[in-house]
């Protein structure tokens, strides 16, 4: 029997190969954050304060879209198509299969964060990340929480047709109120309170520390990290409890 690690590596490489083969998905995945950066860079051109907000905002959005959005879609699709059920009938351990999917998503996160960092350095005058440790810790925390929440959300999506409505119904309001495109302090108080209780605003908060100079190191963002941690635990419980290997029968 091949070892789990060998299987995981093979499964990961297979997912990557197929990811690049689906050109439109690959294109949107990597061009979208660049388009956002270019547009907002043009809009707030010359206002460094606003650029300091946009770049970590887009980084946070990238973490959420590559994990939360992508996994909610993928898991719904794979479940409804019967791929999950078929895999479950083979000796491939379920954890290895799901691990391959998660690593595939996380690879996209890493690529997007790299794009944002390089763009921040080259076009937006941000320099290299002043606090790489803070950046790394928050990316890892954000990826974990959002991947689990994405898996959990897939359980609430009854069919693949309804996936875009459900996923965007969560994703769009969250990125709007969490300060992806503007400083969260311009958001009305009650909305800001909601945003701060959700995982994206704390993630952007921490990423700001990592990406923008003079926003403090890890120690200054521990509350944000704790909020993300709570969401990760919540996501883990829901992801495991509701998991279904089979298409919904209605």
């Amino acid at each position: 029997m091949p070892s789990d690690l060998t299987l995981l590596w093979r499964q990961y490489r297979f997912e990557r190969r197929l990811f690049w083969r689906n050109r439109s998905a690959a294109f949107f995945n990597f061009l979208l954050p660049l388009i956002f950066l270019a547009l907002f860079g043009a809009i707030v051109h010359g206002h460094q304060n606003e650029l300091d907000v946009i770049v970590p905002g887009i980084a946070g959005m990238s973490v959420m879209s590559t994990t939360f959005t992508a996994l909610a879609y993928n898991l719904t699709f794979l479940r409804e198509q019967g791929v999950l059920k078929r895999i479950r009938g083979t000796p491939l351990p379920s954890g290895v299969y799901l691990g391959g999917l998660a690593l595939n998503a996380v690879t996209n996160t890493a690529i997007q964060i790299a794009i944002v960092v390089v763009a921040g350095r080259v076009f937006f005058n941000l320099g290299w990340p002043p606090q790489p440790l803070t950046l790394a810790v928050f990316v890892v925390a954000g990826v974990t929480a959002f991947a689990l929440l994405g898996a959990a959300l897939s359980h609430a999506i009854p069919s693949f047709d309804s996936a875009p409505a459900v996923v965007n119904g969560v994703f769009v309001p969250v990125i709007l109120i969490s300060g992806v495109f503007f400083d969260v302090k311009h958001v009305p108080g009650f909305l800001r309170n909601i945003a701060q209780a959700l995982p994206l605003e704390p993630l952007i908060n921490g990423l700001t520390g990592g990406l923008v100079a003079h926003h403090g190191g890890l120690a200054k963002h521990l509350t944000a990290l704790a909020v993300i941690g709570v969401w990760a635990v919540f996501g883990a419980v829901l992801a495991v409890r509701g998991f279904s290997w089979e298409a919904r029968r209605s």
């Binding site: 029997m1 091949p2 299987l7 093979r10 499964q11 297979f14 190969r17 197929l18 083969r21 689906n22 794979l78 198509q81 019967g82 791929v83 059920k85 078929r86 479950r88 009938g89 083979t90 000796p91 491939l92 351990p93 290997w245 089979e246």
Partner: protein
């Protein structure tokens, strides 16, 4: 030792979904190298039974052994020794036939040769094509290839030819027969009588979560006190059908009487009830 143990043994299997009792005390055994058919209308409990054996569902009660394992424990070793063809299941649509089969081969400790399995499934010409370009029948053949790639001892086929055109069905039957030649055990579910008759060594007719009859397709025709049917047209040309357990005596009597009257018996036939008759009789709603 392993070869004397049956491939599947089921005793008093029950499965309830809330109030609904889908399986109500089923027992059967499938010997090694046998093709065993579970035949019944939709909703009879076939799929519930098979999915318990495949390890997809937990049983409510009863004893189940598959290759000596309890499928409810979902042992990896058991999954490496069975192959499953589900009624419908998707697959990586951007991957080629060859890539998918090779990927699945990597899950198993002793996979068969990838090219050989693709040929066996009749997909040789499609090996470099993406799976989304396959027709419905080709997709089912890919399902079969994926079930065979691990070189399983036991293969579950759930409604393998549903939705096939007649030519594709014949082709699939040929492939399934070839599994017997490879020494595989096959558990087949179907709601097609001709399929059960063509392929299965033994058949269990299921309805309402119970086995109503079991035996070889030909035994089911004669066993259980079922009768011969003698049909003929008498002198007036009126068709007559008589059922009997003793066709020899009845024919002697009928032909003797006809000869004595100087008549001929037109359209004389003696038939045994077919599997179809048994099936319709057993599954008819009272």
């Amino acid at each position: 030792m392993a070869s004397t143990q049956p491939a599947i043994e089921v005793r008093d299997l029950r499965k309830s979904y809330g109030e609904l009792e889908a399986v109500r005390g089923i027992a059967f055994r499938v010997d090694r190298g046998e093709i065993y058919g579970l035949l019944g209308p939709n909703g009879a409990g076939k799929t519930s039974t098979v999915e318990i054996l495949e390890g997809y569902r937990a049983r409510s009660s009863g004893e189940v052994s598959v290759l000596g394992f309890d499928p409810g424990e979902r042992t990896r070793e058991l999954r490496a020794r069975v192959g499953i063809v589900l009624q419908s299941s998707g697959i990586y649509s951007h991957a080629t036939v060859l890539e998918v089969v090779a990927q699945f081969a990597s899950f198993y400790p002793h996979p068969r040769d990838v090219d050989e399995v693709i040929e066996l499934a009749g997909l040789g010409e499609k090996r470099a094509d993406r799976t989304r370009t396959l027709s419905g029948g080709q997709r089912r053949r890919l399902d079969l290839a994926l079930a065979l790639i691990g070189d399983p001892e036991l293969i579950f086929l759930d409604e393998p030819t549903t939705g096939f055109d007649p030519a594709a069905r014949r082709g699939a039957w040929q492939t399934i027969r070839s599994l017997r030649e490879l020494g595989k055990t096959v558990l087949l579910t179907t709601h097609y009588l001709d399929e059960a008759q063509e392929l299965a060594d033994r058949v269990a007719i299921i309805k309402g979560g119970r086995i109503l009859a079991e035996g070889s397709p030909s035994e089911l025709g004669v066993g259980r006190g079922s009768r011969y049917r003698v049909a003929y047209a008498n002198g007036d040309g009126e068709p007559t059908v008589v059922e009997t357990d003793d066709p020899t005596a009845l024919l002697h009597e009928l032909t003797g009487a006809a000869l004595a009257r100087g008549e001929r018996l037109h359209s004389l036939s003696v038939t045994r009830p077919s599997l179809e008759d048994i099936y319709l009789e057993l599954t008819a709603d009272a």
